[in-house]
Symmetry: D2
Subunit: 486 residues, 4 copies
């Protein structure tokens, strides 16, 4: 056997299926051996008594993106990926966001220019489709899919981004034909607009009215609608950032009928609640995201969804808007009310520790489920497996060595993003990454960030194995019966 | 006791609650007494051994209306109400249909001009709102509601009629404020348009593709969406012409959660099926309506919905387009395909006999439920009770004396509308009206139509007792909790 | 028209379907006319401005019955029916309860001997079958059914009464064959016994542990099981005294699948809660019944069940055990704990006023639904229609003239049973019977009881129209498919 | 690194989470390394281009057991485990079955005596509890659990085996206290007995009436009941051999409410149907098992249950009764009818190939799900992980090298059990084990069985990690609220 660049000794390794004690041998950034008493490596980590998991994949985060509000987020690819790495995440999937009139190809180029010199860990891009012209659907998208941009996100709300029902059908149809994977932001646009207007007209400007303006039925309705379109086109989709029990019930119903509906949730729906929007002054804005956190009684439903695989992955939906910034931050809405506040909360760095502590530590999910929802399943869904998402021979050596007993009280001054607050301030967790390795290289160790900007590599992605190419809408469709037969 | 103009002797009277044997005394068109051995009337009907029910209320029919296809229906108010009367229906609620740019007030005037000289039985108008301008919502509608036009219908599909989600919210909000009642045609517009285009592009023009272009999920989705809006505004609504089990499941779910969602179905969903659209030549067009009839296995679900009060009323949705008419009839689509065919089937005359024979006669529903869904509940829902819809002291003497043993094989040459076909041709029913009385006057007896054009009277309607006025959207709404408290 | 013995002038009459203003003419105890300006009666009631409903039918009450605890209840047929009459109830269906080894025919004779000299209003008997021997099933029951005892109740719990699964199947099979109607007390016996033993072993004796020993899943399980047996035999049944949302969900599920499952609830599940069992001293025993009242959040589910016809009737389940009686009353358990307390609460007199005030008065149900669930539907289900249960020509003149504005604070000293407490003490209701007429005779007027013991008549009952005789288990059963075809 | 006894070169390894190409190094029967270019082993297998999965765990099979019918099965531990090994199964969990009056400890001894000299692969025992005396529950069971018999099965039907509800509660309570895991055979006993009697009385003796005598509601009811008991005791359980959609719906409902209900299905519910019971002569008996296979339309529901993790594992429920044996085989019932036929079908050898071909090969489940339900999840549920059930460092080298393209038409003469028929005769599958290794030793290769009787070892099992010991029924139970708080 070839010698190793790095060997991690004697850790207890958790995958989505297994738990075993082994040395991990790493060569050229990949795991080349798992075994007992492996030969010596040029570099060694002593992991005896430590838990090792795959590095996290954060499949939903907004880095250096001009948001749907026209305001830029606080993090660039350096601060964003640095923060991720320090929290045990080794891959991020960020967005290349089209706005009306833009060429998708150009959009992709622009985001590469932002990421290449700065990324610390590996990254890929989902495309955001907001202008599905014939040019985009007929030429740009098929070519980009072939180039490794195999997933895209669409919005059912936000003035600048939303697609109408017919556009959604077109995008789903293209996804089916090309084997690409569509992520859906599911909230009913008109209802939010209408309720917001009524609330503001009545003088209700505080952050807490953000939740009142987009209650659970708003999310449930759009979720049901997206499911219906996916059912009609017979194409798998994923509902992003599912917040509450009403949407969860729709998704479970769809899955139980045999539809391939996948779903994601985020830490904000497990750890925050609508009460957090109702704070003195404008502080509630710190917890504003869309969909909003729901009542506290809702949180166990989201945990249960993760446990029973109704919710398949957890992402941060990191959308970093500083609080004390009247132009591009949360205070932007202090004057004119909640509609002006950019939506989103940061979460790249705390996603893994929060879930580890409150999920695995408190017995809500087991360690295998933790690995599955933070790494293995996102890797499979988004065409990164087998390179990413597990601890297996041949995979990139993206690993977290955990200090499972370490108690940390979350505080913004401990974090490595460009924010001025974290909505999780004050929560004490047990367990934190001791070492994060990206392709075998420690980028975080003993409380120190060790990564270099630009070392992260772009990840062109395969078609999702969950979503097989199936040609035209008509392939397998029997117009006489109106049913798919293939 | 005053003498009677008319007395009906010894019939067995069925109401939605009771079954009893009594003479019915009628004075000035109203029932003034029910009892044994009533005094003699100027006119007498011997009903011994006969069943008497309230005259039917057909709460959904299109008479002398220019359709959403821009083509006129075959029936005017004479032929339409004549046909109704001969089939045991004594009240029709037809539509005063606004198209874009029209004044609602003018629309109403126009329809009165059509109805006044011709109607044979009493009638009212629902308003169709297709252009909810500020003028319409702010002034015309509130005034018209006060004048007795207390219900209106909106469409979620059809290019010329459909409202978008925000307009629906506005209309629901107005209904809540004014105590009016909204009927919803629930199908997803974009999906139908998209599927139709794909089908036609692929050369699928036959009538059977009409059903393929609007499968059950299309109806289910819009039903769910309408329910969501009603839930958010907290206003009762009625889903018209529910066709299939998927929509029924949504409605039952809503009702079980305490929402006031009412629903209507039609004979075409009990007696026709998608197979009927697939016939030699273009004959299938005779059974085209929207939503379309579903598979045969669906029919028992609709019956069960009627039995268990998930579906509350049955109407004909009479929409009379002759078959052999290439300009305004079904053959209009023979050349260019199913999208050109005007949607709708006739049913005013056969609704009551079909339901009596196959419902009561076959034991699927009992006689009380028959009365409830054909007369009493429509009367209550649409503000016609206690004047219409039952056999009770004080009510109009709108009655049907049934020949419960008469066997009739339905055939267009027996019917009294202006059509050239009936989709129910060849069905043999047991039971047919022997006499239909409208305000005490026989308009159908012994197989002869006896009514006079113009004798029918307009019925201004009260607010529905199911729908109490509740002021602004904000009344009872606690913006802090986001919940209605009143 | 013949003259009238009694005429009630100008009241507003409510039936399960209609609301109309009419005089009511009564001759020989029956309604012979409804009309305007009826001829004069020998006796006249001025009901102008008053509401008139059918007299209540309390289809589930225990009068002069030795209970399953071996202890007699407090009321005999005089005090029991007097109490009913004063509260607007004009018919009671009580039980003739078999215990092991008894001849059913003898049981019936014994209960007649108790009722005949004392009953103030009309009455019938359900049979309780606790010993379904061949003699009972093969001979006694078929003969008793023909004699007008067309319904019987079985128990899934109580040591002295419970049938095992096989016996239940036999009884259901007989009911199917004879067209009789079975009522089921659905709680899982072994679970209650096991939980009670564990609780008592741990020293938990207080009344509140009664609810802990029979939580909702205990009722849900037995309800599901009874539904399964009814499904297999294809026979309609009624679940008595449904207490909570979990059982309600099972019943709605069954109904939505087309099964003829009927259900009853009682005032204790609308007005009491488990909190009422947790009172100082042993006072909580006053609210002990089986199934027990649930948490307060459960009450709206029961109201909704009544509103949507998932729950079809409301009865009192009057089971009168005095509080301060250490031998036959609630204090019997003060020493040895909750298992010794006889289960049951009184309710004959307050059922109608409670439901009228909190149901109709508060808008939870409308007046028609009130009439349906208190009178019309029980009459139909138990073979009393058309003689009882409505205000219609030919029906017995069993009527309530309501003083709809009268405020009454319920207190035991206002009531007319033999109890020493009411669990509803202190509840203020709006609306109370001003006059109760039984077959045209006022038995309660202006706060005075006017009835005579022995005037009440036994009501032999027809087979329920809901339950048609269908012969052997095999009739309509296709053993090849395992499905019923007829 | 130490040298290897065996190295498997270059195979593509599938686990429940991952798919990777690696050499597998084996030492002393365990996997000690996974990697590229491992050092040479004493023995080498060339697996390039081949798929490798964990050896199957058949967690439900009856070997050398006297059945509930008092008749012995055809297989002893040699033929049974040989058959398993030849089909890719490397671990069996068989039953040590108590009958009334027996000491459990003695039962276990007896089964060891049968297994020790004959078993070819490793094995463990579930205990069957049919006589839960104080001696059994208080002493024998707790001791046996400590000795590695950590799971037991109970029956809700079969005269000789069934527990009543109270006994089930006691067993569940003990399981909770000791941390043991209960498997439940869920069918309603009395209903089966009653229906069977009626069928036989009517002369219906053929095998097809077996299904008529235990239709889906019979299984659904008992499943609901078992779930209720598990909910009340708050203890995880597993429902064995789930056959149909009605039981599946109950299980999904329980899981969605947060209950730890696990479930198993078997090949007979995916590949056989009730039609197979209806064959000329008595041939249908070959497919008789309990619960019986259902209609063909049911099969996709079972597949979907496996796919969505509502059904967690698949076992054979191998119960080998020869056909042509009038004493101990299927023909035992030829004279007196279906009740005399011993229930059960063989399946040890074909379980893995059937599921691989029709599941993975046809795209109904992916390779990871195949591994999970055939090996990894049973290992975790029954306390065999991490030693069994995966391909991981430290695990036993129980492996299958697949010939994924090999087409085999199943025929009894290819199989290695002691049967004279297989119900799957004539089914052609694609994919069959090329080599089966048990602790590194090939027991099946190139179509030859290579194992030795007695080489299989007994597996004492840990408590299931799914089922943590929680002490008495009272631990965590708050009698005041009636809820578990811990």
């Amino acid at each position: 056997m070839a010698a190793f660049d790095v060997v991690i000794r004697g850790g207890q390794v958790a995958t989505a299926a297994d738990l075993f004690t082994a040395d991990i041998g790493i060569k050229d950034g990949r795991i080349t051996a798992l075994g007992h008493e492996l030969a010596k490596g040029d570099e060694e980590h002593d992991a005896r008594g430590k838990l090792i998991t795959p590095g996290g994949i954060d499949a939903h985060c907004h880095i250096d993106q001009k948001s749907s509000f026209g305001v830029p987020g606080a993090d660039d690819f350096f601060t964003g990926t640095r923060s991720a790495a320090c929290g045990g995440t080794t891959t991020v999937l960020s967005f290349a966001a089209q706005h009306k009139g833009m060429s998708l190809r150009q959009v992709v180029k622009d985001y590469h220019a932002l990421a290449t010199p700065k990324a610390v860990i590996d990254y890929g891009f989902h495309l955001i489709i907001s202008d599905p012209t014939e040019q985009v659907l007929g030429q740009e998208l098929p070519a980009l899919i072939k180039d490794g941009y195999t997933s895209f996100k669409i919005y059912m709300t936000y003035d600048l981004l939303k697609l109408n029902d017919r556009e959604i059908l077109e995008v789903f149809s293209l996804a089916r034909r090309e084997g690409a994977f569509v992520m859906v932001h599911a909230e009913n646009h008109d209802t939010i607009a209408w309720l917001s207007q009524k609330l503001l007209d009545a003088g209700h400007k505080a952050p807490k009215f953000h939740e009142v303006s987009r209650p659970q039925p708003v999310e449930r309705e759009a979720t049901h609608r997206a499911i219906t379109f996916a059912e009609l086109i017979d194409v798998p989709i994923l509902i992003v950032h599912v917040s509450g029990r009403e949407a969860i019930d729709q998704i479970r119903w769809a899955q139980s009928r045999g539809l391939k509906i996948f779903a994601e949730t985020c830490p904000q729906y497990l750890f925050l609640s609508a009460e957090d929007l109702d704070q003195p002054g404008f502080e509630g804005a710190k917890c504003m995201c869309s969909p909003p956190p729901r009542d506290k009684a809702n949180q166990p439903y989201v945990w249960r969804g993760l446990e029973t695989d109704v919710l398949n992955i957890i992402s941060s939906d990191h959308a970093p808007y500083r609080y004390s910034d009247a132009e591009n931050g949360k205070l932007r809405g202090a004057q004119d009310g909640f509609k002006k506040v950019p939506n989103g909360v940061p979460g790249l760095e705390v996603r893994m520790p929060l879930l580890f502590s409150e999920g695995v530590g408190k017995g809500r999910i087991d360690i295998h489920r933790f690995v599955a929802i933070t790494a293995t399943t996102p890797a499979k869904l988004y065409g990164l497996a087998p390179r990413k998402g597990s601890v297996a021979v041949g995979a990139d050596a993206d690993l977290v060595i955990w200090d499972t007993d370490k108690q940390v009280t979350i505080s913004q001054d401990l974090l490595h993003d460009a924010m001025d607050y974290t909505p999780y301030q004050g929560i004490t967790v047990t367990g934190w990454p001791a070492v994060t390795l990206s392709r075998g290289e420690a980028v975080w160790r003993d409380g120190k960030f060790l990564g270099k900007p630009g070392r992260g590599k772009f990840l062109p992605r395969a078609l999702s194995p969950m979503v097989k190419p199936r040609g035209q809408f008509w392939s397998g469709f029997d117009p006489n019966s109106g049913r798919y037969t293939g």
